[in-house]
Chain length 223, copies 4
Amino acid sequence: MGRAVVRAQKSPGRSAGKDAADDRARDKQRQILDAAVRVFARKGFHAARISDIAKEAGVAYGLVYHYFTNKEEVLNSIFQRNWSVVVKMMESVEQQHRGLKARLTAIVDFMMNVYKISPETVDLLVLEFGRSSRLAQTVRHPQVDRSWTVLQHILEAGQADGEVRTDTDARLLTTLFLGMVETGLAAFVTRMMQRDDAMLEEMKRAIVSTFVEGVAPRGNGGR
Amino acid sequence: MGRAVVRAQKSPGRSAGKDAADDRARDKQRQILDAAVRVFARKGFHAARISDIAKEAGVAYGLVYHYFTNKEEVLNSIFQRNWSVVVKMMESVEQQHRGLKARLTAIVDFMMNVYKISPETVDLLVLEFGRSSRLAQTVRHPQVDRSWTVLQHILEAGQADGEVRTDTDARLLTTLFLGMVETGLAAFVTRMMQRDDAMLEEMKRAIVSTFVEGVAPRGNGGR
Amino acid sequence: MGRAVVRAQKSPGRSAGKDAADDRARDKQRQILDAAVRVFARKGFHAARISDIAKEAGVAYGLVYHYFTNKEEVLNSIFQRNWSVVVKMMESVEQQHRGLKARLTAIVDFMMNVYKISPETVDLLVLEFGRSSRLAQTVRHPQVDRSWTVLQHILEAGQADGEVRTDTDARLLTTLFLGMVETGLAAFVTRMMQRDDAMLEEMKRAIVSTFVEGVAPRGNGGR
Amino acid sequence: MGRAVVRAQKSPGRSAGKDAADDRARDKQRQILDAAVRVFARKGFHAARISDIAKEAGVAYGLVYHYFTNKEEVLNSIFQRNWSVVVKMMESVEQQHRGLKARLTAIVDFMMNVYKISPETVDLLVLEFGRSSRLAQTVRHPQVDRSWTVLQHILEAGQADGEVRTDTDARLLTTLFLGMVETGLAAFVTRMMQRDDAMLEEMKRAIVSTFVEGVAPRGNGGR
DNA sequence: AATGAATGAGATTTCATTCAT
DNA sequence: GATGAATGAAATCTCATTCAT
């Protein structure tokens, strides 16, 4: 409840009154979204009532409708907000790092860190969104497609560099990598595994090394 | 009321009518469960109405309540029925096959074949059940735990045989393997990938080889 | 459950097979009615389900419909059966006894004894039927009217004999007497009072003497 | 949600809107309760549907749930509201009047007047609540116990003053008195007796005098 | 006679959404 | 902007009753 959100500085030079009002509005909106993350993570999208979210946010439930069209839009906003962060991260990783292992390590690192910081968010993304074709049909976030594409690029680069075998479709390998990450997270989410830092670290290492070794070209003079 | 009736032998001599009735009852139950699989897969558990299931099964919705306590129990029955098949398969694989690769291949084969035969069932299991901690908390199917355990045994055997590196927890590797399989299936379920046989075959090969290579001990001449 | 009902001897001289069948039928019917009394007393008419009655009687619920048109008819049968006993008792009391006090004593005695023997029956009659105008409207048992009439006669006889003051309507006094009896019983039914024999005896005495003294003519040559 | 709100004084200066809203809310609640009294009296608790109450009150049925948890809580509120009036009356009678006859006369007067003003309320209290042990078990209104206690005190005072014979338990006599009043009312409720004022007056007199005479100590020159 | 599968009307209850204040 | 009263569609579930066996 009431987590202290760091307020971003806004573009200076506007009417102070307006800005203050905008600020308050943005705060309220964020307050509601934060509450929604927790409630959705706790009860699931369907079972979560708007009034639950409002109560968690400490506002009247009518206000939720002031900021969002309906319940689904609340969920969409959450996805938008979070996936755009993931996509940005992936894009920057592609730019900043070289080599398959370094890149995947950076990505897995980031994901696991997010989990440490806000497990509810990950719970929600994994449980409600992860793969739901039904939601996907209604929602179809281009962000998600973009993240797949970036990953695919990384793997294709690996194939070009001889780090990844070329006899398998890069898109398919992308699937497998995401599967490991996702299910790895899910194991924590569903309490299949203990939620402690050591475990998280081991998980990171296992995912990266298993995948990198697993997709390495082999055979002739190979490994 | 009167469901899951254990058939006892009754006074011989006039039991035919009774038995026929019981048979019909069992048929109707199965008819309802089959319909439920399709409806759940199509709309998801929450969005599926009992009346949808009844309509799909071609019975009055009251009959669903005649055989099942409520909607959740319908879902549970489906899980029970299907997971027990998976568990049996895994156990038999452990008995019949030797060697990590052979065993995992057999398992992945089976899973993908089930998908070919009854994609709705897999859709349902993957989407609704796959990992939902919320459902899991209420339901806690021992069958699921059992399947994890069997897989873990297989990996531990691999460690003992030197096929799997020993510096990583077998349970953790189990997670990763299941993640690949599950997300591999999910890619079809969510239409992220084309549902054709060639693709399924390539997926099978990719999963097994990536995982087996990925978890192989390295070192000797290796990495 | 399964209280041992004393089977009445039937008119001798009929076809034995027929009689035996009739007997069995009557037994089943009585079995169902006895069960119904207990269930209605326990849960109330509305909350009692036909299946509860059938279960209590140890028969299939379809059979209830073989013997009774519907749930309401089951209740009616119970009333019929019991009130006719009460009416007969009152009529015989009017014949056998002389004097207001003797007659009322006999009546109260009987009522309280019934309570000792079958509290459920009294519970049911008092709670579901006692005064329910709504049921009364649908049911309108002539038996009930008859019992009022007999009592009224007894009071009118008392007026004629100078035991009861004549300045008050006999029907009204009937109401008051029945009110005492009914509420007296109700106090046990609702556990407002301890259900022990001494209390029952004191209740009997109090009802009769309070009423008899209360309605005695007074005044001039009176007290 | 937000029912039975205790009105707190809020920051003075802009509370008018809020207060007006609260007033409206209280009005609506009462409107619903009044409607419920009529519907329950007409059809009985079980047969009354929430939608009947809503229709009678002229509101959407959802609103009933906005103010009350469920149907039973509606009934409870009615009991609470009405019995507290009865209890207060009895307490004030005990204070204001002296002598058994005066006190009981005042009580019976009040009861019969309530009946004249709102027969439905009395119908409901008498028919649904009067004694129902089943409801009583769930509800157990302390108000009802309190009214018994006050009456008992009045009778004990009568015993102390020599107006009531001491050889009978005061609680038992309380039962009888209430029985007369209740059944007296019931006779009107169930249309066993004509609902006219003259009859009501005669009933009043008959109840009080029968009871007072009936419980008077006898002996001296008596019987 | 006896059974219980099958039906479906109908009741309760929930909750997203609108809207007056 | 903020509130929460008001609405009513829709979903779950119950159970009296019918009927084939």
